[in-house]
Amino acid sequence: MHEMSIAQNIITILKDEKSKNEFKKPVKSITLITGRMNAVIPDSLKFCFDIIKKDIDFLQNSILEIKEEVIKIRCNSCNSEKEIEEPIFLCDNCNSSDIEILSGTDMYIESIDIED
């Protein structure tokens, strides 16, 4: 259940952004990117977020939108790149184990939409 910690972190960042950007209107939606490596369960995270947003005025009616980021890898031996469905970090082109993960491990707030 790391979803509750993640939901709390989202709220901390949004409070900080509110004070920095000095926006007055409530937030309509938040777009969150989570990589597939992170094992975040979107429904569980939304559930946690919806519980704690109730205490924060400018987030009460906001919707958390979660976009999943696919896992992309690059082989540092033969430079081939591909998207993977299964977590196998071996190059299927040259069998090298020198693999770099290009995407799929990120977890960040991309943007927020504020009432006009």
Binding site: N9, K25, I88, S97, Y108, E110, I112, D113
Partner: protein
């Protein structure tokens, strides 16, 4: 009106974890973060390796993480090493240790006087992998009773660790676990991981494991 944010959700945790690494580097203290499912033998391994480390004059401290109870710390206390117990039920019953609870625990341990701190994380193969504790080396323990397919089910954990320990090797003859398949599955996720095979019950592989840890000690 759309505002671009682009901020990492774990930015606070990651920042403090980096501060912890600077702090432990300056005192030349090696920090290990041991993670696994509940019941894979983390505490038993500590009971085995700490006396050997102490005999080699390595000054060890332990951070025990559990949702509740001091059972694990109680088991380690006869070994007479400094222990800090973190119970995450005070922090909402968290399933992992974040850097915000590790930092005060390290402060309590007085790390200038320690060569090695071992963090025994909360038993869980998912969440602890997500949260950088500030440790130098992440270690995953997987026991033969858990089955040979677990690495592919919990890839982030095996990807985040630099060392893996296959424990309870003494039970292999009673189980359907295919040890070669288990090793292959670990290497599929993390081909460069350093693998150890142990039985914390009868002591197999423990000396080799301690040898690897001693090589990493910073002073």
């Amino acid at each position: 009106m759309k505002i671009q944010i682009l901020r990492n959700i774990l930015e606070e945790n990651d920042k403090l974890a980096e501060e912890i690494r600077n702090f432990t580097n300056s005192s030349k203290t090696l920090v290990l973060n041991i993670m696994s499912s509940p019941g894979s033998g983390k505490t038993r391994l500590l009971e085995n390796i700490i006396p050997i480390l102490k005999k080699q004059d390595i000054r060890v401290g332990v951070i025990e993480g559990d949702i509740t109870t001091t059972n694990d710390a109680d088991r380690i206390s006869p070994l007479e090493v400094p222990i800090v117990q973190i119970n995450t039920d005070n922090f909402g019953g968290d399933c992992h240790l974040g850097s915000e609870v590790i930092k005060p625990a390290l402060d309590k341990l007085n790390i200038e006087k320690l060569d090695l701190v071992i963090i025994e994380n909360v038993g869980n193969l998912v969440c602890p992998a997500e949260f950088d504790t500030g440790a130098d080396i992440n270690i995953v323990v997987i026991s033969t009773t858990e089955g040979d397919d677990k690495p592919v089910k919990y890839p982030l954990m095996f990807r985040q660790c630099q060392m893996a320990i296959i424990n309870k090797i003494d039970l292999l003859e009673y189980l359907d676990c295919d040890i070669n398949l288990l090793k292959t599955n670990i290497k599929k996720i993390n081909p460069t991981i350093d693998l150890s095979i142990t039985s914390a019950k009868n002591g197999d592989g423990i000396q080799e494991l301690v040898g690897k840890i001693i090589k990493k000690i910073k002073r």
